[in-house]
């Protein structure tokens, strides 16, 4: 995947996977660590020390899972995002009082980051990435706000609606409009069966 400038994070990640290259890991850590911490703090609900704990946990998983990383399937940033998200899900569940099955549950079992993808799919993903980069900064504030709450705080559409005191239908349409602007193709027929809760 073409990067505008700076180090090739994908290549560094491959080095970590193929050669257990600690220098490459250090470079990735110095770049993505502060981003991950910023990402987690922006989400709220975690203290700075906990955010660092999560950064560390995420980066250790990155080290262990790097051999399965394939740059043709995902950019380093996408891959990092999925690992950070899964780490946060597990962490939140571990700290939720009502959860009694912490030992059995690992979020990554429910997310297949390493799905085989065809060259065609890889092409679509490259195009997706450049579309997103091109249009992300021109999203209307209200759409960006909803995406921010969802991605940074891991809030569901319903939780975002509750927090902003707007109807769920409004959240859904902002998400749909934002994804349209970013030219992300979601299911063609999925929308037809949307029935809004009363």
């Amino acid at each position: 995947m073409n990067k505008p400038s700076g180090p090739d994070w994908n290549a560094l990640l491959v080095k970590v996977g193929s050669h257990q290259d600690k220098a490459a890991f250090g470079a990735l850590f110095s770049h993505f660590g502060p981003l991950l911490k910023g990402f987690l703090l922006k989400g709220g609900g975690v203290e700075p020390e906990q955010a660092e704990e999560l950064v560390q946990e995420t980066m250790i998983k990155v080290w262990r899972k790097a051999p399965s990383y394939a740059p043709t399937q995902a950019a380093a940033s996408t891959w990092m995002y999925t690992i950070a998200r899964n780490t946060r899900i597990d962490w939140l569940r571990k700290h939720a009082k009502k959860n009694h099955q912490t030992d059995e549950l690992v979020a990554e079992d429910l997310f297949d980051e390493n799905e085989e993808s065809s060259p065609f799919t890889a092409l679509i993903q490259t195009r997706n990435a450049s579309n997103i980069r091109e249009h992300l900064n021109s999203l209307p504030q209200e759409q960006l706000q909803v995406l921010t709450l969802m991605y940074f705080q891991g809030k569901s559409g319903q939780e975002v609606a509750d927090e902003l005191a707007i109807p769920l239908g409004t959240v859904k349409s902002r998400v749909r409009l934002a994804l349209q602007k970013l030219k992300l193709k979601i299911t063609p027929d999925g929308e037809e069966q949307v029935v809004y809760a009363s």
Partner: protein
């Protein structure tokens, strides 16, 4: 060909980590059947990666990298993904059905037998506990040609067809199809004549039967935990 998919919001909630475990499992199960939705989720993950890249950096403690490097050579904790994939579930699920469930469910099913309870002459249910109280996760089986009772929904019901097919007033649903029923929807699913239909279902609140005393509602109170 899969005709019924989760809506955009559910896929986005999945990709951003906003779903509770039971609905998360239903989406993960649908994704095992559906290339289209997997692709959509990849796109949503790319968006996550871009938001991460554009995020304001927060300075890390000076020694965090050194600490982390020191931890890299520690042995990997036991019980990670790989072993779940090799050991087949020993529950009374047919193997090809087991393959259609997400890995976590395999893991879970290794720990306990599925307890199929008969709710009517043609309908059975096996509850699955994922340690959540606000959702009920279960497998439902309608025998070939059998009908489920007419029921409506107090909460949202998410259904993924794992095997066979069923139909209701609105259409026919085949393997991999994903359905969402909202409060107020009334339907009466029935399996096709040739084979039993097995579905994974998630209820956000117990559903009620229409026209029958609620006490008789077979869907209620299967006490997953």
């Amino acid at each position: 060909m899969i005709n019924n998919h989760p809506n955009t919001q559910l896929l986005a909630d999945y990709a951003t980590g906003g779903l509770s475990m039971a609905p998360l499992i239903s989406i993960a199960t649908h994704l095992q059947f559906c290339d289209q939705c997997r692709e959509a989720v990849s796109g949503l993950n790319i968006l996550g990666g871009e938001l991460l890249s554009e995020c304001d950096q927060a300075e890390l403690s000076d020694d965090l990298l050194a600490q982390t490097l020191a931890m890299l050579d520690a042995p990997e904790p036991e019980g990670t993904v790989a072993e779940a994939a090799v050991s087949a579930p020993r529950s009374n699920l047919c193997p090809d059905l087991a393959n259609q469930l997400p890995k976590y469910l395999h893991k879970f099913l290794n720990h306990q037998e599925l307890d199929w309870r008969s709710l009517s002459s043609t309908l059975s249910v096996a509850a699955i506990s994922v340690g959540e109280t606000d959702y009920e996760l279960a497998l439902h089986r309608i025998d070939a040609g059998g009908k489920a009772p007419v029921h409506d929904h107090k909460g949202t019901e998410l259904t993924v067809v794992l095997k066979g097919s069923f139909s209701d007033e609105d259409g026919i649903y085949r393997e991999g199809d994903f359905l969402m029923r909202e409060p107020g929807d009334v339907h009466r699913p029935s399996a096709t004549q040739d084979q039993a239909c097995i579905c994974l279902s998630v209820l956000s609140a117990p559903i009620k039967l229409t026209g029958i005393k609620q006490v008789l509602n077979p869907f209620m109170r299967f006490n997953p935990s």
